[in-house]
């Protein structure tokens, strides 16, 4: 078996991130506390390089490398670029918060970058083993990051819950993978798909394996009834970490679901469709209803995530090219919106004070009209009000499920989104209709303002011209 060095070209983006993460660990040893900003700058430069490299090596025919373990295709190109871009914004937003709380250490940045690497591996995996490794890399980094502020008891508690439940989810997934391996004799998606096409439902082990996979995916997405960790982790973790784990990983989780269910077990579509219907309906319903009851905005956003996951599942369960493209669009758009919303929360926080309650939004329009406008359009977008992109995402998903004849599901989805509209409106009401309770200055910098503006305006621009992103999503499943 010879090793061809050209095989490494498609995985150059991952190599860049890996080198970056390791470099940061080393550099951190040599810089003084006052100069920790260098970690931040290095990370941003590295991410930009990684985006450029991804674009360079991307495009063209599907390539399978490393003995069939790894794939680079249109789907992976788009998703990786999106993960990297969203992560770039995440780091820009986090800087002031981390600096003020002396968290901006090399460890933080390298853990976060390893998490990014984990996402990229998930996106490009071509076998059950690779995808599991990517997932664990991501998850382990996130567990550590949730507890990163070691002074915080809430953080430690959240990390503990996250770890135990996450490990349970991973265990389920692994168990499912083992069954599928037993039934098909392969770990690569291609051969598995062939066997599934032959045997189909006759093989009971396969169906059991599928059930465990869906449970695992449900855990990782945070879909009801596997959502228990989401609100606690969102509430307990430091806001920059919530920002990190609430945005880009949704894109990676989408990749996980597509690779596992569609690439590997596409032949069992009829089976997993039914399971996803249940998860989707429960997630949309429970997520939206419970979000109304929250006064902590991080918890509210946690439940809102759960509701959005339900919508992503709607697209996935359609299983058609159209549906998958819609789900992909939704996942990307959600990551962009979530990044913006948590970015605003970071702006509202300041040294010694974390903006966590809905009340903290009060009177934002008087304190800074531009941030209020950005947050407002993000909230309208999440509620699915046009002309913002959140509407387009919902529209594409609804269209795809109406196309497969599940009109009742579409009706149910819109009913839940009406319920959901209330809590987004409440955030806007606090910002615009109430007077500020504090006149403390906002924590931002020129870079944050520019980044948040780009983030917010992209929500509007993509809503007006959804074709820009939609064509990429459609190309990924063509």
């Amino acid at each position: 078996m010879t090793f061809d060095i050209t095989q490494l070209i498609p995985i150059l983006p991952e190599i860049v991130i890996l080198v970056l993460a390791c470099t940061l660990l080393l550099v951190d040893l040599y810089v003084k506390d006052a100069q920790k900003g260098i970690n931040h700058n290095l990370t941003l430069i590295g991410l930009v390089v990684a985006i450029a490299v991804t674009l360079l090596v991307g495009g063209g025919e599907r390539q399978v490398v490393l003995e069939g373990q790894y794939v680079r295709d249109a789907l992976s190109d788009t998703l990786k670029v999106m993960v990297l871009i969203v992560s770039l914004f995440v780091f820009v937003y986090s800087r002031e918060y981390l600096r003020d709380r002396a968290l901006a250490t090399g460890e933080y940045y390298s853990l976060a970058l390893f998490a990014v690497l984990g996402m990229m591996i998930m996106i490009s995996a071509n076998s059950y083993l690779t995808i599991y490794l990517g997932l664990e890399l991501l998850a382990l980094c996130l567990y550590a990051l949730v507890a990163f502020d070691r002074e915080s008891k809430k953080g430690a508690e959240a990390a503990m819950k996250y770890f135990v439940l996450g490990a349970l989810g991973s265990g389920m997934l692994l168990y499912g993978i083992s069954m599928i391996y037993g039934a098909t004799g392969s770990l690569e998606f291609g051969p598995v798909a062939e066997v599934v096409a032959e045997q189909g439902l006759d093989n009971l082990v396969l169906v059991f394996g599928l059930a465990f996979l869906v449970v695992g995916i449900g855990f990782k997405f945070g879909a009801v009834p596997f959502h228990m960790w989401v609100p606690d982790v969102y509430e307990g973790a430091p806001t920059p970490v919530v920002l990190l784990l609430g945005s880009a990983p949704k894109i990676a989780a989408f990749a996980l679901a597509v690779r596992l269910l569609v690439d590997g077990l596409g032949g069992l579509h009829a089976d997993w469709q039914g399971m996803l219907v249940i998860l989707a309906v429960l997630s949309m319903g429970l997520g939206n209803l419970l979000a109304i009851a929250q006064s902590n905005i991080k918890r509210m956003l946690a439940y809102s995530t759960i509701a959005h996951v339900g919508f992503i599942f709607l697209g996935l369960l359609a299983g058609t090219q159209e549906g998958l493209a819609a789900a992909m669009f939704y996942a990307i758009v959600y990551a962009v919106m979530a990044a913006g919303v948590f970015g605003i929360l970071l702006v509202l926080s300041r040294k010694g004070y974390d903006a966590e309650n809905l009340e903290d939004l009060k009177g934002l329009n008087e304190r800074d009209p531009w941030y209020a406008a950005l947050m407002g359009l993000m909230m309208f977008s999440m509620a699915g009000v046009p002309p913002f992109v959140g509407f387009m995402a919902k529209f594409f998903v609804l269209k795809s499920i109406v196309s497969i004849g599940l009109v009742w599901l579409a009706v149910l989805a819109v009913i839940f989104s009406i319920i959901g509209a209330f809590y987004y409106l409440r955030a806007i009401w606090y910002m615009y209709f109430d007077k500020p309770t504090t006149d403390a200055p906002l924590t931002d910098s020129g870079a944050v303002r520019v980044a948040l503006s780009i983030n917010g305006l992209s929500v509007l621009a993509l809503g007006l011209f959804p074709a820009l992103l939609l064509s990429l999503c459609q190309a990924a499943f063509a």
Binding site: P369, F391, F395, V402, A410, A421, W429, Y432, A467, L470
Partner: protein, 504 residues
């Protein structure tokens, strides 16, 4: 002559861009931004005038059509066009917005530039609703319109504004999402999002009924029809004057327009099957809501309820067509009913807008909307008193005013359908006169009630301009409605022919 210019796009985007410009200028130079806002409003009105003058009223085809791909792959187009139904409503929108901007000139002191900008953006979106011929484009404008209104009521509204604005938003949002599902469903059947393709789409009765109900939820809330009208009095009372004017004059019309553009032509059989439902809801609105209006103590609430009753005429006029079709002995009348409904919409736009502005004039001076706080206003404000009496008369349907034309046509058409429909509808002439005249008696006439009223100053040049222009519009349409009827005549006839054919 101007056909080459994308007129409709201009009328949509000019105010929106103007709004953004005003918003960006902020309140540092509030006077200047008000002037810019007014300039954009006037310019938009001027740009919209060719729609009327270059309009070819001999055809029912869509005119000033623009069509470019918007979301390729999903067959969604940026598709605009107007016919005799939508064109007058667009002019109503551009016309009314000018007065809303002028009316807020001195009154709004909190972030005036944002206030003006919200109305300009709103104007563009409403024109978009009337001119969109693509279902998704329509829906985007339709929903986006909620955002500025939500902000307007919530920021510049009265003490109970938050309750009112959330109720307004959720109510309308509730209505419209079902419409979205219906639109997507039809697009799936027709493989196109063009509203004109939906018109030609064959649908079974069950499908039609479900689609009809989805549309009904959206449009009935917007009109609003009894029993989903309860958001309107709240929203009107709490909204600032300009917000009430836009709500009453244009937003309600969008519901009526929706019936004509969607419900009737897309689901004619379901409309025919369920016309009893709409007709009874309309009659209840006309009779019952008019009685509710009678007992109101708050002037804005009274006018809000009167709006609901008047909009009942609109929906009645649209749906009696089906009763007329079923009667073998009657041949004409359907066109008259729909035309009456249309005229009623335009006229109600002027009259209710003007009445809300009148209440605004009083409110700006004494900060009360309670009828009991006034009395004998005419002694201190003779010009204003005269105008208010005039608008009240128009509201009661006095011949010679625009209010008469619409009601008369609808009642006449209702006679052809069923005597009792006409009888019930005609009771409005009595009850409507009762509540408006009683309002005028208590507020305008009589001896000066208190020191507040005694200290009132008459309306200034700005207010004279606003109310005077609207009074002129009411008179012109009332005395000489022929041009308005002519513009919509062919379109309405075509519509009646279309809905007379079964899709089954």
């Amino acid at each position: 002559m101007h056909i080459d210019l994308p007129l409709l796009s201009l009328v949509i985007w000019l105010p929106i861009l103007g709004g953004i410009a005003v918003l960006a200028s902020g309140d540092r130079a509030a006077e200047l931004s008000k002037k810019v806002a007014l300039a954009f409003a006037v310019l938009t009105f001027v740009v919209s005038l060719p729609l009327w003058f270059a309009f070819d009223s001999s055809t029912a085809q869509m005119q000033f059509v623009e069509r470019i791909p918007w979301i390729p792959g999903l067959e969604v187009y940026y598709h605009l066009g107007v016919d005799g139904i939508s064109m007058p409503l667009i002019l109503l929108t551009t016309f009314t917005t000018i007065f809303v901007i002028v009316a807020g000139w001195e009154v709004i002191t909190y972030k005036p530039s944002h206030y003006m900008a919200a109305f300009l953006i709103m104007e563009g979106l409403m024109v978009g609703v009337f001119s969109a011929l693509d279902a998704i484009l329509f829906y985007v404008f339709w929903e986006a319109m909620l955002i500025p209104m939500f902000i307007i009521i919530g920021v510049w509204g009265g003490p109970n504004r938050i309750y009112a604005t959330i109720k307004f938003f959720l109510y309308t949002f509730f209505g419209s999402v079902f419409m979205l599902v219906a639109l997507i469903y039809m697009a799936f059947q027709a493989e196109s999002f063009s509203i004109l393709d939906f018109h030609a789409l064959p649908l079974g009765l069950t499908e039609q009924i479900l689609i009809f109900v989805a549309f009904l939820l959206a449009f009935a809330v917007k009109v609003p029809m009894w029993p989903v009208h309860t958001w309107l009095p709240d929203a009107h009372v709490e909204a600032p004057t300009g917000g009430s004017v836009i709500l009453a004059a244009i937003m309600l019309k969008i519901g009526g327009y929706g019936f004509l553009r969607f419900s009737l032509p897309i689901t004619p059989d379901a409309s025919s099957y369920l016309d009893w439902l709409i007709i009874s809801m309309s009659l209840i609105a006309i009779v019952y809501i008019a009685f509710v209006a009678l007992v109101q103590q708050d002037m804005k609430k009274l006018i809000a309820y009167s709006s609901i009753a008047h909009m009942g005429f609109v929906t009645l006029g649209f749906f009696i067509a089906f009763t007329i079709f079923q009667r073998a002995d009657v041949e004409t009348g359907a066109v008259m009913g729909i035309q009456g409904g249309m005229v009623q919409m335009i006229s109600h736009g002027f009259i209710s807008g003007a009445l809300f502005l009148c209440v605004g004039v009083l409110y700006d001076r004494l900060h009360s909307r309670q009828i009991g706080d006034y009395g004998g206003v005419i002694n201190t404000m003779p010009v204003f008193g005269g105008l208010m009496v005039f608008f009240a008369m128009a509201n009661a349907g006095l011949p010679g005013t625009s209010g008469f034309v619409g009601e008369f046509l609808v009642i006449l058409a209702a006679f052809k359908a069923d005597f009792w429909f006409a009888f019930l509808a005609a009771t409005t002439l009595i009850i409507g006169a009762a509540y408006t005249l009683w309002l005028v008696k208590r507020v305008v006439f009589g001896p000066v009630a208190n020191d507040g009223v005694a200290g009132l100053t008459d309306i200034n040049a700005r207010e004279r301009f606003v109310l005077g222009s609207l009074a002129a519009a009411v008179l012109i349409v009332g005395v000489w409605p022929a041009p308005l009827l002519e513009v919509m005549d062919v379109t309405v006839q075509n519509l009646v022919e279309h809905i007379g054919l079964s899709k089954l």
